[in-house]
Every structure is written in structure tokens, then in C-alpha cells.
Symmetry: C2
């Protein structure tokens, strides 16, 4: 391996294997070539290949069986798996529709209590806020609000972020998002949200309050997303209750 990127080798190998599976080249149930063989073909060491396979096993995509081989799991393909997919744009694109946005509005505003708490700041601290209604094929499907510290991104930078996405703009400022924690609640549409999402007042919604942090635990972005009840099938892949027999 002479071609070096930033991601570690095992992640790049995992990407390559994942692509093979998702493209259907390795159909569900299929057995992978043996590790030495595959390592030779991909020009990597067996240990790096094994690390990659371990990642994909953890993801639930592959299933190595001692003494037999490594197989492709045929679990339902979750394009909208919450635990792997941070961005609303991707969720929309994954359903095959064209993502868009309207009613974009960015300004400095006082942090609501829940948001301030997530950042660990006092109530009312001024924050950059970006409000959008995201659309799929022109139809409104998510009402989102993103908050971040103004010294990191000012409202103007949030509304038109470098690199196209707020995540990338944050990454360029040294705040690459490592993980997020999302909390879900059912809700009913009040007049304001009903108008923005073009649904009847009082109709069912799912709200998702999320705090995104960097690898060292700094909260970099907080967002509130509001979905009409049936805009998406919001799913989560859950691991089994330990391997205890």
C-alpha cells in the first residue's frame, strides 16, 4: 500500500468490502474468498484485512465462522439506519429523491434552555442558528434547526457553509464530528410547524433532538429535526443481547 489517505488502512479496506457487498457483487449468503487470498488480491497484509472484517462484523454486514469461512449476512438493508447516518440530506437522497431546502434563515439568537444545556452554556447565550425546511422532490419533509457557537461559525457561514455542508465547515475548523446522540419524542404539529411542513395542524410528528460532538467530547453542533409521521421509516439497527450462549 503506497497510496496514503487520512483514513486508516483498515477503514479503507472496510469501505472497499462494503462497496462489494452493497453493489451486489457479493450477494447475501455468499462466502468471501479466504483471508490470505483476499489479502493477496487487495495487496494488503492479512492482519489489516482481518481488522477490516472485524469492523464489518461489528456492523452486522459480515459473519466470520471459525474454521469455515466468512459470509455475507443478509440482514435487511437499512438505508435510513439512524445509528449510521447523520445527515438529513443523505437520508433524503437514500430514498431516491432529490434533496433541497427552502425558508433558509440564519441569525444570531439567544439559546433556548435545552440547547444551552447541551452546550454547557448559560441560558440565553447568543448562538448562531440556522433554520431550514428540507425538501424531497420539492415536498417538505424535515423542519430543522441547527445551533453552534458563533465564534466557530457565524450565521452567514452557517447559511452558506464552506464545502457545502455544515459538517464539512466544522471539520475544516478542526471540529470534525465524531458522534452524536439523538433523543426521539412524538409530538403534534402546532400552527407554525404545520405551515412550514404543509401538514394539518395537530397531525403526528416525530422530533429528534441531537447533540453532535468531536472525538474529545466537545459539543460542536446541536440540532432539532421535526419529521411528519410518515415522511421516513426511521429505523435503528440494534445489537443482540451479548453473545452469551
Amino acid at each position: 500500500m503506497t497510496t496514503h489517505a487520512r483514513r486508516s488502512l483498515r477503514h479503507r479496506i472496510a469501505d472497499e468490502l462494503r462497496a462489494l457487498v452493497l453493489s451486489g457483487e457479493l450477494p447475501p449468503g455468499a462466502q468471501l474468498p479466504s483471508e490470505p487470498e483476499l489479502a493477496r488480491r487487495m495487496q494488503v497484509s492479512r492482519s489489516s484485512l482481518r481488522s477490516a472484517i472485524a469492523l464489518l462484523e461489528e456492523e452486522g454486514l459480515l459473519r466470520p465462522v471459525h474454521g469455515s469461512g466468512t459470509y455475507v449476512n443478509d440482514r435487511p438493508l437499512l438505508r435510513d439506519d439512524l445509528s449510521r447516518n447523520l445527515s438529513g440530506t443523505e437520508m433524503i437522497a437514500a430514498t431516491g429523491r432529490t434533496p433541497g431546502a427552502r425558508l433558509t434563515e440564519a441569525r444570531l439568537e439567544a439559546a433556548p434552555p435545552e440547547v444551552a444545556a447541551a452546550f454547557g452554556l448559560p441560558d440565553g447565550t447568543p448562538l448562531s442558528a440556522l433554520r431550514r425546511v428540507r425538501t424531497a422532490d420539492g415536498e417538505p419533509v424535515i423542519d430543522t434547526t441547527d445551533w453552534c457557537r458563533p465564534e466557530v461559525l457565524d450565521p452567514v457561514a452557517m447559511a452558506d457553509p464552506a464545502g457545502g455542508s455544515v459538517y464539512q465547515a466544522l471539520a475544516e475548523r478542526g471540529l470534525a464530528i465524531h458522534h452524536g446522540v439523538a433523543t426521539m419524542r412524538p409530538a403534534m404539529a402546532d400552527a407554525r410547524v404545520a405551515e412550514r411542513l404543509e401538514v394539518p395542524e395537530g397531525s403526528l410528528l416525530l422530533t429528534l433532538f441531537q447533540t453532535d460532538s468531536t472525538a474529545d467530547g466537545v459539543v460542536a453542533l446541536v440540532s432539532l429535526e421535526i419529521y411528519p409521521a410518515d415522511a421516513f421509516l426511521i429505523s435503528v439497527y440494534r445489537r443482540g443481547p451479548g453473545d452469551e450462549s
Copy 2:
């Protein structure tokens, strides 16, 4: 390593490390001993230790930094993280309340369409169904229905499962649950659910439809769980958008 268990070595090492972190012996931000040192102490090879660390990195618990060391992440502890926690009993216990159940009712019934589809069976196939209202300190918090194939567990076995939990009863019959996929929807309480959960009719609910599968993709259990809006904070840990910088 002469002491053999069922779980693979790296999982056992990971368990040990996880315990060290959760017990507070390795506080957030702390640097682990170096890999060679730790491997020597735990009497395992460095490669096995590295595999374990990779697992915990994927879990978000540890953060190895090339050339520097491996550190404990201080991410918020999610007691009710959906993506790691399958059982309603555990969710209740994690909030510090005492789990219980009432209105337990088990019988053979025709599979509703959505359930039949999850099993890949025709509509109306008879299935074992177990209906319960689970309680926390006596207060109703989840209305659950579990379905499984009657040749695996008959209604009587479901109502009083060997080993105490349906999961364990399934595992003893060679159907250990490996993963599940849960889909969330907001809903409103109809008369029946309102009475069972002791909430006003029309109040907000979160429903969670889940299919649990074995390692080879066989659907072993399907369940529908209904939560009052504020019974739990249902959260998900989401990985960041790739490591691309």
C-alpha cells in the same frame, strides 16, 4: 491463554477493558497503558488486545491516537441507548425502577399483515403471541406484544419462558438473537391502549416495531412496543459522518 470460553478472546478482553472504564478505574480522558504493556499484564498477545481496542473504539468508548496513546472517551453514558439495548426489562431497570408485568396473555393467533411480512409467512398464519403491559415500580410504561413461530415456542412456553426471558428461551432452542431492526413511529392512544397504559385517550405515544434475527438472518421474534411519550428518553448513539477529514 489456556482458559477457554465461548466468546472469542477479543470480546472477553473488550469486556474486561469496558469494565475498567465503567467502574471508573480508568476515568474519562485518562490514557491507557501502552499496548505492549497492557498485553503483557493481561497475558494476551498484542494483536488480540488491539482487536479488543478496535471494538471499543467502534463503540465510542476508547480513542487510539497514532503515535500518542489510547484514551478514554468521555461521551455521555447512554443508559437507554436503543442501539445497544434490546430488552424492555433492562431499559426499566436502568432507570433505577423495578420492572414488572401485568395483563400477561399468551395465545395462538393469526398473524397481522405486517408481522407475517416480517416472518416471510403468508397473512393469517397462526403464531404464538404474548401480550404484556410492563410496569416500572407498578406504573405501566410499555405495552408490548411479541410474536414467534409456534413450533419454536408455544404460547405457554412464551408466557413462562425457560431462563426467565424470551430471548434466553429462544437461545436454548438454537435461535440466539444476533441483532434486531427497530422502526419508530409516533402515534396517538386509542381507547384500548389508553386503558392498558392508563393514559388519556388521544395522548401521544411512540411505537417501536422490531424484528429480531439470528446470526444467519432467520427472523426469530417480532415485537411491537408502545411507549407513552414521556415514559423514556429514547436515545440513539450515532456515528459521525465517516472519518474523512
